[in-house]
């Protein structure tokens, strides 16, 4: 005889629970943590590279970099002044999940840091579904990607706390309608904190760095 068992369980519950464990561990060390998402080439690593010198003497920073392969990103973070840089190679997975972050946290003495920057795998779809346990999720969007991205990736734009619009110096050369872009963001995520930056000219980076310091000192 067939029997129906009601469940109504969020399919990613196991990941979400481990994310809570990660959060407890990060909180216990008194560290402020961010998860940076973006498509490949939006400037995640460059943003981290340019931000670290601005945090020098203000925050002790650890970086965890997720990539399918190579340690290029963690090497760049270490060279730019991160106190520790851990590389996670996902071996093909297109996102970090709570299990991977859990493993990487074990390699760090968190009590030595004020800020933990987790750089996710470059991808606008999958990372949004997997919570890691960090305090804030930051999306780096860039002007050359086009103004239609909030419309095409609503899940990602909806789930973030901070939006960094990078490569703002390219606005004069690209058909990017800022009002159309902002409209999409506004509908999906009216409370998002937005920064306009250029890692090439340095525009807007100070405000972003100040935001990090302010939150890490809370």
């Amino acid at each position: 005889m067939t029997q129906n068992i009601p469940i109504v369980e969020n399919i990613l519950n196991a990941n979400d629970r481990l994310a809570q464990t990660n959060r407890a561990k990060i909180d216990a060390a008194g560290v402020f943590s961010i998860n940076i998402l973006a498509s490949p080439g939006a400037g995640k690593t460059s943003l981290i590279e340019k931000t670290l010198p601005l945090l020098k003497g203000r925050l002790r920073v650890a970086a965890i970099d997720g990539d399918i392969a190579t340690s290029i990103d963690s090497d760049r973070a270490a060279a730019a002044g991160a106190g520790a840089a851990v590389q996670i190679n996902t071996g093909g997975d297109c996102h970090l999940d709570a299990v991977m972050l859990h493993g990487a946290l074990d390699q760090l003495d968190l009590t030595q840091f004020d800020l933990l920057i987790v750089e996710n795998v470059g991808n606008l779809v999958c990372p949004a579904n997997f919570k890691l346990g960090t305090h804030k999720t930051v999306l780096v969007a860039s002007i050359p990607e086009g103004d239609d991205k909030p419309y095409k990736y609503p899940g990602t734009y909806r789930g973030v706390d901070v939006l960094v619009v990078n490569k703002i110096d390219l606005l004069p050369y690209v058909d990017f309608r800022m009002d159309y872009f902002q409209q999409g963001v506004q509908v999906l995520n009216p409370n998002v904190t937005t920064f306009h930056t250029s890692c090439r000219t340095g525009e807007g980076l100070q405000a972003w760095a100040d935001w990090l310091v302010e939150n890490a000192k809370k």
Binding site: T2, N10, I11, A14, A128, N129, G155, Q183
Partner: protein
Amino acid sequence: MHELPVTQSLLKIALDHAEKADAKQITALNIVIGELASMVDDSIQFYWEVIAKDTIAEKATLNFRRVPAELQCMTCFHKYHPTDKELICPQCKGVGAKIIAGEEFALESIDVE
């Protein structure tokens, strides 16, 4: 391609609940996926056939209930379905909207024997 870990999670939840109910076989999984949840049912089906093999869920049918996105304008309270290119309210062009439906992603129930 996040559907692989998602499908593994789905299988685990179903097996856990079936075990608790002393079921011999899982015959169906009833899954709800919202339009905004970025999940592809064909991919879940594809991975399912690989990973559910040799479990009591091997013969289970995956039933997907798709939920269309629905937004409600916070200016004129009009309810609407967003299009690919526009998210703002088609009636008053307001930008403040609440997402009422479309973000669901859950296993609602399983059928067991």
